[in-house]
Each structure stands twice: as structure tokens, then as C-alpha cells.
Chain length 318, copies 2
Amino acid sequence: MAGVTLKKLAELSGLSVRTVNRALKDQRDVAPEKRELVRRLARQYKYIPNIAARNFRLRRKNIVGVLTGDRTGSEADLQKVAELERRLIGAGYYPLLGSTRGSVRHTLEAWNGTVDFVVSFRHPQTPEALEVLADFPCSFIFVDCPADERHHRIAVNRECGIAAAYRCLTDAGCRRIVHCGTSGLRRKFVEHITSGRQGGIEFAYVRTEHPEIEDGFAAGAAIMRSGADAVFFDTDRMAVGFYRYAWAHRIRIPDDISVVGFDDDSVSEVLPPPLSTVAHPVAEIADAIVKIVTSGPEDPVRITLDTVLVRRDSIRRG
Amino acid sequence: MAGVTLKKLAELSGLSVRTVNRALKDQRDVAPEKRELVRRLARQYKYIPNIAARNFRLRRKNIVGVLTGDRTGSEADLQKVAELERRLIGAGYYPLLGSTRGSVRHTLEAWNGTVDFVVSFRHPQTPEALEVLADFPCSFIFVDCPADERHHRIAVNRECGIAAAYRCLTDAGCRRIVHCGTSGLRRKFVEHITSGRQGGIEFAYVRTEHPEIEDGFAAGAAIMRSGADAVFFDTDRMAVGFYRYAWAHRIRIPDDISVVGFDDDSVSEVLPPPLSTVAHPVAEIADAIVKIVTSGPEDPVRITLDTVLVRRDSIRRG
DNA sequence: ATGAAAGCGCTAACAG
DNA sequence: CTGTTAGCGCTTTCAT
């Protein structure tokens, strides 16, 4: 169980640690027969280099910290994390997972010395928490959450996907579009992109308390009462709730009403009919992170990536 | 960026490393004023102990390796991994992620020295791969996949959940139950549990090539043609496909036919109507793993945990 | 071509 | 009460 070390191999072979090391790494200046001897011994005793010790010595790390929240709620975070994990591994790094639920400081302390980069999918809760980060000898990469100038930040532009959805709906001939969500901010944005519209297209807003399935269901009555022929939900979960409402009231999608969601939860592809939705730039985010980790830029990277509309059968054909 | 070390603190304070160390760990036999001095300095220079170095020295690890497969296909694996991560973190460990897609040996080599335990949700592909494990100085915990006597194993008993589903269906008055899946083995089991049944209940089997959504959809015609009043699918994904088929053909669930799936994918709760399904013992698995990791038993732990039926509205009320 | 030795940051046995 | 020191497993500089 204990594992063979370089030193043991040295004793076994009667050579010095240095020579053993040389032989194993196939470096020059080793007598062929000694090289063979060492390699034979290594195989025989199943020598496996202790990477932790090596990294310690070289002050190098093959581990990247990943801080996530609850991973409940929107599935989008989950997708981003999963994709990041995949690419990190592909690039020869291993993701070390932590939660922003407990004490971030505590987690970072526990990671001190094992990671150079920490990716966070949630903003540290308090302003002090942000200050804490400065104490740690590693770089932070914030994804889709605010971050101050000192840290890397990968932002997600939600607006462009939403705008694409509205364009798609109006192009499909929808004339009464309801936006359903919780966010005053987003409402403002929607008002902005719809304000220039002509051709007798009407826009309305239905506000819900939360962005969950039951809220989408509950909003169903108001949406249908408004005479809408299309509805955009701030989350796929709300759209799912609306699907339920439609199912219960024999409302046909998209014949009676077109529906678009947001987040590209895996459900959306599977619903009858498949839900059109705005997807996060999951792959691009992961790429950007891997690039930062591998290239280790001096200055904080700050980029913005766009959401896109995934059109499926829940939007009627123009 | 470089981080303050004990040694630096020693120089700064004019004391020895030992004393600094003592002061910081609040151990006895340190003069109060020196203790204060050291603590002040530590705060001032933002000393954070290098846990990697400490663990290295103490040959102790706060990191647990987690090997997963693609994480595509059944969501059950995903759930298990997510739950494990949560509990591991709760217990003061950090999960280090790897994939069984590439070379497991390579991953284990890269982890040598940083983990004592490796949890695997997939069987190493080849027999040689299993042999390889013996070379590594760490314990393996296999979840829901075969493992030889040397390793810990947490098995999942699928049969009991399936049996519960059949019991529930017959209790609800179903008289023609179709089992739909890909597995010859599971079919054998179903034949077994249904063979003793009386009261004019008929059982049939519809085989599909794959366990995916489209296969469930494709099986719809055969299932309905058979006159079934209940259908059990080997995966929730197939059940989802069947839901689609039902939706397209105006078949009402559960009025026309009761449906049960397997895996408890998150979709199932959300489908109209919510799908009854057999759930894996996700929490129990995670518990068992954490227990092994924290207690480090000498002998290989080998336990079996039961699946359970989650009854939802897709089964008609008796 | 080979080896001695320092040192990464930390712990702890052992002396004073 | 405090300091000296060895050593975890590895890399690498500098002698030989």
C-alpha cells in the first residue's frame, strides 16, 4: 500500500536517487545497462511517481478549484460546470469541487497550495468575502456573476438571445406576445427591444413571484386571458409549468400559442412539443476558462459571451 | 501572490519556526507575548497555511477521487455523483473529478499522492484495467458496478423497485402489463416475479434496441396494439418517448394506460402527468461512501442498497 | 556518467 | 518555554 519511492529504487539498485531519476525520465548521460536495471526495478516494484510531491516541489498544479452553488434551480449552471469539468480534464487538469454554500474562505484555505486557479459560478455573498479573495495566492475566474477589476470575468449576454427570440416570434407572425418573468430589469430590456416594433404587434408583461414550475402554471390563466398568441418565459421551468397548464386546459402548443423558454434545460428538448429556448454559451465559457488556466495571462481577462436561440417546435411556423 | 510561509513569519518575529508553529496552533508552552506577536504578524501578512504541504508531510489527504463516465445517458449516475459531492464536501473532503473515458491508469497516476480513496461509478473497461488498480496506493470504492473481492463495492438492487412497481400496478387494478426494455436479464427477472400471479393478469414483453427516448416512442404502437392497460419502461427516457407517442395519439395517461419508468430522471417529476418511476438509493449511496472514506475500514465493504418506487400520477388510482 | 545535497512548506520528536 | 533538526518525495544545481 505504501508505494515505492525514488529513494527505495535507489537503494534497490545501488545507485543514487539522481541516476534513478535520470533513468526514469529518459534523460541523457546514463549508462545503458544502469538505465535498464532501473527501469526493470521500477516495473517490478510498480513504481508510480508521487505527483503531489512533484507538484509541490515544482510549485506547479494540475488541479483547478471549482466553486459552485447549490446546483439546484436552473440547470444552466449545472451544464456549465459539467462542460467545464469535461474540458478541464481534456486539457490535463482535474477539477476540485467546492461549494459557495458554506464558508468560501474555509474552502479556499483548505485548497491553499493545491490550486492556482479557482473558477466561481456564484458571486461570493458578501463584500467582505470579495476582500478575502485578495489574501489567497491564486487567480479567480468568475462566470456569469459580477467581479471586481482584479479578477477574470466571463460574462453572459442574455439580451441577444432574448432579442433573437422576439424576432423569431414576430417573424413567425405572432402579434400578441407576453413576457413572463420575475425580473424588473429584464422587463425594461424587453420594453426597449419591443418599443420600435410596428405592424400592430402588441407586447405585454406578466409578472410572477418566482421563476419556478408552479409560477409558470399559475401564470397560465392570465396569459391566456390576455389573448396572447406567444409567450416568452424567463426560465424553462416556468415554461414547463405553462405546458402543464396547457395540457390541463387542452391548449395546443404552438397552434394556440407559441412558447419560448430560457436556459435550455434538458427537459426542454423532451417536452411535447420540444420547447424553443435561449441557450447559454456553455461550450464557449468552458473554452475561455481552459484558455485562461493554460495560458495564465498577466492581466485579468474580461469577456462577454452571447446566448443563442434554439428553435424547436413550440414556435409556430410562419 | 507568493504567499507567506512559516519560515518567513519566523524571520519576521525573530523566533523559530517551531515557536511560530506552536503559537499559531495555540499549543501550550508559548510565552503569551510571543504568541500575540506571532498572531499579529500572521494577520498582518495574511499568513495562510499551505494545506498541500501539511498533508504531504502528514501523508494525509482531504481529497477524494471521483471517476465518472460520460455522464450522458441515464441521469441516475449524475444524481449519484452530485449527491456524493455534496456530502463529501459536507464531511470536509473535496471531490477531485476524473473520467473513465480516457486512460484510467493515466488519471490514477496523475492523482498519486493526492488521494487515498477513489470512487468509481463505472467499471474499468478491461480486465487488465482492474489489475492496474492493485498498483495504486489507494482504496477503491465501486458503485453499482462489478468489483473484485479486494475493493469496496456498493451495489444497487434494481429488482426490489421493479417488483414494487408491478405490485403497485396490479393493486391499482391493471390487468395487462407490458414490460418494455432492452435487457434479456431483466426480462427473466420480470418473468420470475410475475409467474406466481393469478387473477387473470397478463404480462407481456416488448423489446427495444436501445433504452432511449426514440425507442420508447417507437414502441408505442406495439404497446397500444397489445391492449395493455399498464406499461413499465426500463428507463425514464423510454417513458418520455412513450409520453410523446401518447400525446401525438391522444392517449390519456393514466386513464387509458398507466406508466412507470426507471431512474427517477428529473424530467419525470415534471412531465404531464408526473411519471411514476423507480428511484436509485442516491442518498444512501453517498452516505455509505462518506462512511467508508471517514472510517477507512480494513476489510472491503460490500453492501447492497435498494431501489424504491416513487409513485406519481401516471399510475391510475385503484 | 554519477552522486551529494539543498530545498519546496510543514510537523514533531528531541534537546536544551 | 524555545530552538534545532530530520524528513515527507521529488527536482535540480553543482561537483566530481
